[in-house]
Symmetry: C2
Subunit: 246 residues, 2 copies
């Protein structure tokens, strides 16, 4: 393809297509620097404003990215961490062998409120002693890529928060709790806008989309024993699912 | 909470907090109209610009939404469709009992290219006859909420596209193909920016985030027999996962 100065198509639009073709063909690979404005002007005999407009639009569309002081680069899909074999039990505190990797941000005893009781299907609404609420950052390579939040009913695990805080082992915490451990789980995955607090914690702009998983775990005894909400930065994670058929 | 005209906190910021508190307490529930500018001005003895600035910021932050000619409303999370028991086999053509609901947009025979061969692990790269490529809209209540795309190797299913196009039943299409039917699957879920074509098809802005699932299915014979890419509008769907533990 050559730029055609006598065409009805504006030159900046032709230049956009010229760049897009080179990206599609692999001549300008993802993550790589493209020729500078000056080089494009000279090689293609274009004016500076024409080149600027083409690049500005490709930046606005997310195809190119400007790194200050370095140049203009083809956008690269960021490297993503895969959370392998993701399931409703992933990050469950009650299903964890150990909580030593969790680095809890907060461990609180919440009084029962309407919303939480609804999550737990109002179980023993009248006499509910509330819920343990634990939050933690999901980190990889030192970077915070997500947040976890778990709710566990005090009626099933009266001392859970205190025991976790005191560093008690999961084997001891869960001893004799067999009937209350999760045996079934369901999870809902969605994209939603980050809340203000989530955006701050993940260093993304307010109302950015986040990948969100909400799991409800049911115990052998039939109680809802844990609710987990996990959110991740949208650019840093993929969830892996595995399945087999007979 | 009362607005304090002698406070150092600007009145519009106090009004924002006043509105946010009422949303948090349920006094202004999600989806419901809030008092008009005029009513807020009069009831709280505020100037019109003060009220406008507070509302404009809450709209920019996504907390409120203006419906032209109607008023200002508390943003509601949109109703979402749940795709229940989502798994790597969901929307697989080879695992479908019938394709009559699919309404294919295109059924094409693609020559083998580098990228597709890589997806299929270069299987028989030298002599690959290519891939059947089928695309379809995912619709619910008449609205297009997603797009599906499946790739099936011609080497395993030489006539697949033609058979689907001619309306042949899946029982007949898959007869004697037992060894090539999917028996294991893995899926990666992520949020990514919509391509231009996807944005057009889903009526969302270019580069909007979409929820994306990519599944790879392996047959009993050990071949990769199908790749599926599914994308959904981020505001319209949740994926449901189910799991049990022994």
């Amino acid at each position: 393809m050559k730029l055609d100065k006598r065409s009805n198509i504006p030159l900046y639009a032709q230049l956009k297509d010229w760049i897009l073709e080179r990206i599609a063909s692999g001549q300008f690979p993802a993550g790589q620097q493209i020729p500078s404005e000056l080089v494009l002007c000279e090689d293609l005999a274009l004016s500076r404003p024409t080149v600027r407009q083409a690049i500005a639009e490709l930046v606005a569309e997310g195809t190119l990215v400007i790194q200050k002081g370095k140049g203009t680069f083809v956008s690269a899909e960021p490297e993503r961490l895969e959370i392998r074999q993701f399931s409703p039990f992933s990050y469950s505190l009650l299903a964890a062998k150990s909580l030593s990797d969790y680095n809890f941000q907060s461990i609180e005893l919440l009084p029962p409120d309407e919303e939480t009781l609804r999550l737990f299907e109002g179980a023993k609404a009248s006499g509910s002693p509330g819920f343990w609420s634990l939050t933690w950052p999901i980190r990889i390579h030192g970077q915070e890529i997500g947040l976890g939040h778990s709710l566990i009913p005090v009626s099933l695990f009266p001392d859970f928060g205190d025991q976790v805080q005191s560093g008690k082992s999961m084997i001891d915490i869960l001893a004799n709790k067999y009937a209350y451990l999760p045996s079934k789980g369901s999870c809902q995955l969605a994209v939603r806008a980050a809340t203000h607090a989530e955006a701050l914690a993940l260093d993304i702009s307010r109302r950015s989309p986040v990948l969100c998983a909400t799991s409800r775990l049911t115990s052998r005894s039939g109680h809802i024993c844990e609710w987990i909400e996990l959110i991740w930065r949208p650019d840093s994670v993929t969830l892996g699912l595995e399945a087999g058929r007979i």
